[in-house]
Symmetry: C2
Subunit: 280 residues, 2 copies
């Protein structure tokens, strides 16, 4: 199968590595607006060649969009304008409502399969691409019934190669849920990094002490602004709801500390320990 | 060397495993108020026997306190009352100001070495104890000049076996810094778990999606209330300062989202990315 990947960074690159390794992809065309990303991807060997989207599109069986969500919204409509009935296009974006409403009435809507892999690291760029990034993780298909059956089957065969579990959701539900289990984690990490960096100005030695607990809560603060700003923009309303609830929980904790209500804090910790049933 | 460890959980157990493995400890006495912890520690083989503190104290070269910080404050004064000039006592607690002021004038103050290993996991109990928990991590010595030279040398030889880097601080400085690089991370994880658990009530499927990013920011919410309440109590003032700053950072983010000031958010993310220079 001949595959083009737009965006040869962490996600696009990791997909390419696995599809080539498993020989699902016989040829991978990399497309990226950054010339140096293409050079790195070629030298890392996970793409076979690079060309423009216009030149690549007529040649491939599958086109994968692995760029920030604003770029996906910009590119997808014209890709659908030019797609043939035997081709499939998939995205890997973190938000879906805006994107899917944008192409809802497109005559080639059926050729598109909306995907969101719940996998990643805090690193970005071609050198961040790794084998097995997706194995055992969850792929969300959004509004899958609006995809043509054969397009969905092609996407499914590809995701199968990545060894992912699959979940089906509608776009609205997807955007609410990811606000809770992904987007808010990035906001709290950014804020925690800023809190501690602020303090470091007056207390230089602070980071000698950083423990693995701190590292784990703050590692997402290394994430790329170019990727996250469009997500915050497109999922703003849901993220604001979660952020409001999260600030409320922190203020509650603050109030209990202020009034030295330790039995109250004890109850909250015990309640939050219930996360054990979900995270092993 | 004969060693007694009070508290045979994650920290005490992991110390015992390494000291026995390296044959630094010829005999380890476990002391724990939970009978079942003793049974587990004996069956896991990292303690050789168990007896009361009163019976163990006269027999050992080193006594290690690896219990919650309120229990350390309760136990240490009477241990110092009964200690001989050839013995050393160390603690592994997360707060130091209260403890060290409590024993400041004790005639045997010099036999005590205040230690805080910046290492741990979100798990607790004897079965959470693991080899290499401490290797490469940082051990903080607090107010080390108030320890007798030979007591400090004994502690140093022991910490050397754990393969830790060492840092020296005074107690006040220690409690401020740990509020920033450890205690606040636990508060944010507890609050994030509560935020999402709250939502789960109405949206049951939410956790099918939990990504590794979410898992990493929320894993500390599995931590033990019995360990953390005493830390929050003893380091309340510093923790409240950090929490206030952290809520302020989140409210700032909230305001920028509300007003759709994306250039402002971009700047904040870029600033928080500076955490890369500290965390590899």
């Amino acid at each position: 199968m001949k595959i083009a990947i737009i965006g040869v960074g962490l996600i696009g690159g990791s997909i390419a590595i696995t599809l080539k390794e498993k020989k699902f992809a016989s040829w991978v065309i990399g497309i990226d607006k950054e010339e140096q990303n293409i050079r790195k991807a070629l030298s890392l060997g996970f793409i076979d060649e690079s060309k423009s989207l216009e030149a690549a599109l007529p040649e491939v069986d599958v086109l994968i969009l692995a760029v920030p969500v604003d770029a996906i919204c910009k590119l997808l409509p014209s890709i659908l304008d030019n797609i043939s009935p035997s081709q499939t296009v998939m995205d890997m974006g973190s938000t879906k409502e805006k994107l899917l409403s944008l192409i809802e009435k497109h005559e080639n809507r059926g050729r598109f399969v909306a995907c969101h892999p719940m996998a990643g690291t805090e690193h970005s760029g071609p050198e961040a691409a790794i084998p097995n990034l997706f194995a055992g993780k969850t792929m969300i298909y959004c509004d899958a019934t609006n995809s043509d059956e054969d397009a969905f089957e092609t996407a499914e065969a590809l995701v199968d190669q990545l060894e992912m579990k699959t979940v089906f959701m509608n776009a609205k539900e997807h955007d609410v849920h990811t606000a809770y289990v992904s987007h808010i984690s990035h906001i709290t990490s950014f804020a925690l990094a800023l809190t501690v960096l602020e303090k470091e100005k007056s207390q230089g030695r602070i980071f000698e002490l950083a423990s693995s607990g701190f590292e784990s809560t703050v590692r997402l603060a290394k994430s790329s602004a170019d990727m996250w700003i469009p997500i915050f923009r497109q999922n703003r309303k849901n993220i604001m709801d979660v952020l409001e609830e999260h600030i409320h929980q922190l203020q509650n904790m603050q109030h209990l500390l202020e009034t030295e209500d330790y039995p109250g804090i004890y109850k909250l910790i015990k309640k939050s320990n219930k996360i054990k049933r979900i995270l092993k």
